[in-house]
Amino acid sequence: MSAIKGLAARVRALLFRRATEQALDDEIRFHLEQETEKNIRLGMTPDEARRHALVQFGGLAQAREAHHDVYAARPVEEALADTRYTLRTMRRAPALTAAAILTLALGVGANAAIFSAVNAVVLRPLPYPNPDRLYMLWEENPEKGWYKNVVAPANMLDWREQVAAFADVMGYTDSFGTSTLTKAGEPVIVKPTYTTGNFFSVLGVRAALGRTFTDAETWRTGQSVTVLSHRLWRDRFGGDRRVIGRSIELDGRPVQVVGVMPEGFAYPTEQADLWQPWAWDPANRQQVFFRRAHWLDVVARVKPGVTEEVANAQLQAVVVRLQRDYPATNKLMGAGMTPLHEFLVGDTRLPLLVLLGAVGLLLLIACANVGNLLLVKAAGREREAALRLALGAGRGRLVRQALTESLVLSLAGGACGVALGWWGTRALQAMQPTGMLRVSRFDFDWTVLGYVLAITTVSGLVFGIAPALWSSRRLPLDALKEGGRGGSDSRRVRRWGERLVIGEVALALVLSIGAGLLVRSLLRLQQVNPGFDPNGVLAARLSLPGGRYDSDGKANAFFTRLEERLRTIPGVEGVAGVSAPPLTRTGYTSDFTVAGWPAGTYGSEVAHRRITPDYFKVMKTPVLRGRTFTVDDRLGSPNVVIINEAFARKHFPGQDPVGQRVTFDRIPDSTSTWNTIVGVVGSEHQTKLSLAPQMEVYEPTSQSATNVLSFVIRTTGDPAVLGPSVRMAVAELDRGLAVESMRTMHEVRTASLARERFLTMLLLVFAGVGLALAIVGVYGVMAQMARRRVREMGIRLALGAQANDVRWLVVRNGLRLVVAGLAIGIATALLATRAMAAMLFGVAAKDPLTFVLVPLILVVTAVVATWLPATVASRADPATALRSE
């Protein structure tokens, strides 16, 4: 209580300084009058009485000053004075100030940009009510090597009904490709997400216009409905509110628009254009395929107050029951739950954290550089500090002043850094490969600004503390004695400078080794043989609207006609169709068994793709054994498949797979279709170059039809120029059909590495900046040292030393520091790079080549950086050097 009263008095004094002073004056006047009256009563003359009163009081000015000191105003006033002083010295050394601010701005800006991404993707909670109660549910199966896998619908429905801890459970997928939207201008490709009816209610979002789905719409209602994204509504329907209730056409089928989502709603991804309820046939519930095929992403909302442990325990109980009740499909099917946010962040967390670490190192290097600049400056002002100490200034006062200086500097740097960071954030948003991060907009919100303010202040303290302590610890006498003319050759300042150089070199090395590892990894990836020849091939993807192409025969006939038509385009060497080109995505996978295997043995996770006969010829995928498909492999003739090398190696080691028969059922029965293996081809990388090719079978489209086919077109010239001809050919055969995507296989290959390339590039830029800053730091310290020792060098030269000797003396000195820094840096990097092992391909985190080459580069640049000051020192003219004292 009394403390609060005291504080109030202080604050009052600070805020109402004039009033406080006025009150004091009044009080003193009263005092003097009383004293004078007393003196008159004692018999003095009025004049004498007044003089006596003043003497007795003991000096008005001191009383006022002492009174002022007691109040809090002093520290604030001092800080303001320090700030003014700092601004003045900054103006007097604009080059130095600009260098310091720019260095800091680089460090802070890089941090602000990366942190804004981390904030948006990792830190900011999902934009749904009570997001911490949302969990991703997934399945796992040791036999198939599944972990966090998509879920079979029947299992999801059972979880929803039987796990009491779940308030509700919904399922969706957006991996069924795209749809063609017609009757709303030109045909356009849209990305649908298929959902259970409670999709939106589990997330807790409402439609901006109209309604979302009802629970009943999970099942067939006789009416196809859809909810549009805000973006699609704006771009395609001109933001017309009357769209609600209107019928549009998706893949040739009429669908009624029932709602429009609010702007910014982007689940599951930002690419989502519209949502459609499953409208399952209720009979599916009892069908075995509903439990055998896994394709749903499942999200649960747990009831309030239920912990993850409790919910998971209940889920496991249901899982065990399902394993027992449905052994054919669920015998080894496990399940688990992960907080939704964590699940969505997924594998972007590590790269983001590595980047955050990298910019952290960058900022430290920047701090070391600025700290060195300040140190040099403090050394130059040593005599001033000594003088002030001698005249009675408190050491704390000097430390405060030095810190004020560094804080002002860091805040200026931070302000520029925010500007740079804002620009960097925009650049990051623009350049990040599509879909790499879950969120593509990272705003500069208060969290980011708070973070920037925090790192700015901390870095100000970090680089300011050394010069501050240093300048105040000096004994005044020493400093005054020592300094001849501008002489500040204290061992301490040199040692501090050397430490900073060592630190900087170590930090820059860690950063560069990290970047070096990523570069090596990317080079390795680029060398990976994709299993096909991507040069000169264009891939164009089509999906036939199920409305008009409602039978396998119609689809196959259209594709055959199109293939023939495409062959007539001038320059085209070959055309073939494939259900999914390599390096894009896997098709579905299945179990299988081979005729002649002991009963009950089977294999898992073989991927399926459908192709037309010329596929391997067009892609130049080597045929290792047997034959490819021909036009004679058609409906009615024996079913044939071709397997890839990965499959042959794993399941037919030392035997010829050609002629063997497989079926894609785990336990074959009378209904199973047996397929004869007619050939073995080289393995193509199905999804990523960094993943080994999966086991795969190819089926001819003639025996296993599909509505979605990509045409791969090999040409003698540049495949990209074929685009218009391909579109024309498609339009010729079907006006209502849009080509979904058209990319050269070269682009596909490049795009499959986009994420790795982007990360490598970013880290390389950071490492480059860090290295440059460190080298500038080395140069600065060495130049400073050379300048200080110019007299010594002059004497050496006068005594007969060669210019070369002197030069080496300086270079050697610099190298000593660099090598020390490298040693520390290598040790640190050995520990630090372990964290990024998961991001590396074909390169160990302790890759010897990187750990030798990168330090070597650093040494060479450091030698160059010390060479210049060394040369200056070696040219010291003995006469002038000596006279300059």
Binding site: S2, I4, K5, G6, D26, F30, H31, G58, Q62, V70
Partner: protein, 110 residues
């Protein structure tokens, strides 16, 4: 000027002010007079140093002040003890006695 014996230490002055105020609220000049009177003229505090002491004590929350009119109808700032101040008189006086005893002990033994 002043004899050295009356050069009152800062902490002592605070204690004297507090003690004086235990009698009744008083203005600055009055406090100075009272200290002089009670010490029979031995302690003649530098009157200018009284006022910073008042601020110090006010910040500690031991005294508070208000402007009042004196019996002669003049405006003056009156200081009075707070509850915390009243408690502080006891502890401050005790520590002062310990201090005096210690000094006295040293004077006797050497």
């Amino acid at each position: 000027m002043q004899p050295p014996t009356s050069d009152v230490l800062r902490g002592t002055l605070d204690l004297l002010i507090l003690k004086t105020l235990t009698l009744e609220p008083m203005h600055g000049w009055g406090i100075g007079q009272r200290i002089q009177q009670l010490s029979r003229g031995v302690l003649d505090a530098n009157q200018g140093s009284l006022y910073p002491a008042f601020q110090r004590l006010e910040q500690k929350g031991w005294i508070e002040s208000e402007w009042r009119t004196t019996e002669n109808n003049r405006r003056a700032r009156y200081y009075r003890l707070t509850g915390a101040g009243r408690r502080a008189v006891g502890t401050e006086a005790a520590s002062w006695r310990r201090y005096v005893e210690a000094v006295e002990f040293i004077l006797q033994t050497t």
